[in-house]
Symmetry: C2
Subunit: 193 residues, 2 copies
């Protein structure tokens, strides 16, 4: 059953070990921030630092694993029609819009959407780490280290598919930051099988 | 008062708002992983994702800020004789040595040293995020995203100096991973003024 996350909102749900989770960009050029927490102990969370270290690569794709802070594989990427995702930047937030965009009345962003979606699971703002930013296209200058957020490479119905290697609480957003999605706020679809 | 952290060990201590913290590589080619927690609420921690996002750069140096997960400046870099530090990879750990080096009886690493140093402050293993890896020289390929840990560029008595913008618990290690320090395990010095 394909489900839809409305623009600038988020969802959290359980994915059991062995299930596949597919995240789809239905319109193209949209980003979905993803978090994962171990279902039986929410202190075990997705870790950018461990995942990048073990892969020795910043751009993760088919075959790569997303590790927890306890160095266990939470999810493995089994299909990926885009091949460009970010694991460096935190979810956009009121502070992002204030600091980077200079907004006076900032949107609550993906951070706010994660907080709302995860509250029923007893997970709060401080528990939210660096997300795996699906379809987010961050260009890197290897010499200067400069980061530039470019429009996603995803086209309509591009997707990434994961297999869960443990029981998880997963949260997804339809991204709220203009830089990430080329100024268009679109939905994100997902499917758990 | 310059203090010394013995090879493959760690320390934690309080740095008050307005104090300067200087981290010195006394011998050259050594790495020091650094963590920071707000003294009055240890759930506020150093955040790689926020710091890299707000700087729009991976390599942070003089003038750049290290932000917390609540988007407040914890430390600002005011001097830096090296200019190359890492903020991508997690502290080396038993799992690092097992997964990356294939060790059968792995050392507890910087992760283990952080756990020991921070336990008296009520901070435990799951609270340890991506560290600011002082003097760690991680080369990036902007096209492929490949990461390569090279020997530090630091020479004897090179240093980085921070000003604290809030009261902090800071933890530092003298790194335990052969890749990070060209196979030599050396001390790290620090000074709080």
């Amino acid at each position: 059953m394909r489900e839809r996350i409305a623009p600038r909102t988020g969802r959290a749900f359980v994915v059991r070990r062995g299930q596949t989770l597919t995240v789809i960009d239905p319109s193209g050029e949209q980003v979905s921030d993803m978090l994962a927490f171990a279902r039986d102990d929410k202190r075990e969370v997705i870790s950018s630092g461990r995942s990048l270290d073990y892969a020795s690569r910043i751009f993760l794709t088919t075959g790569d694993a997303l590790y927890s802070n306890r160095s266990r594989v939470m999810l493995r990427i089994v299909e990926d029609t885009v091949g460009r995702h970010d694991f460096l930047l935190t979810p956009c937030s009121r502070d992002t819009f204030r600091i980077i965009y200079g907004d006076q009345a900032p949107h609550h962003g993906c951070q706010g959407n994660f907080e709302r979606a995860l509250a029923p699971y007893g997970i709060d703002a401080d528990d939210i780490p660096v997300a795996f930013n699906i379809f987010m296209n961050v260009a890197l200058d290897g010499d200067t280290g400069a980061l530039k957020v470019n429009p996603p490479m995803s086209r309509a119905n591009d997707y990434i598919r994961f297999v869960a290697e443990m029981d998880l609480i997963v949260a997804l957003t339809a991204c709220s930051a203009p830089q990430s999605n080329n100024g268009s706020f679109k939905p994100i679809d997902f499917e758990v099988v």
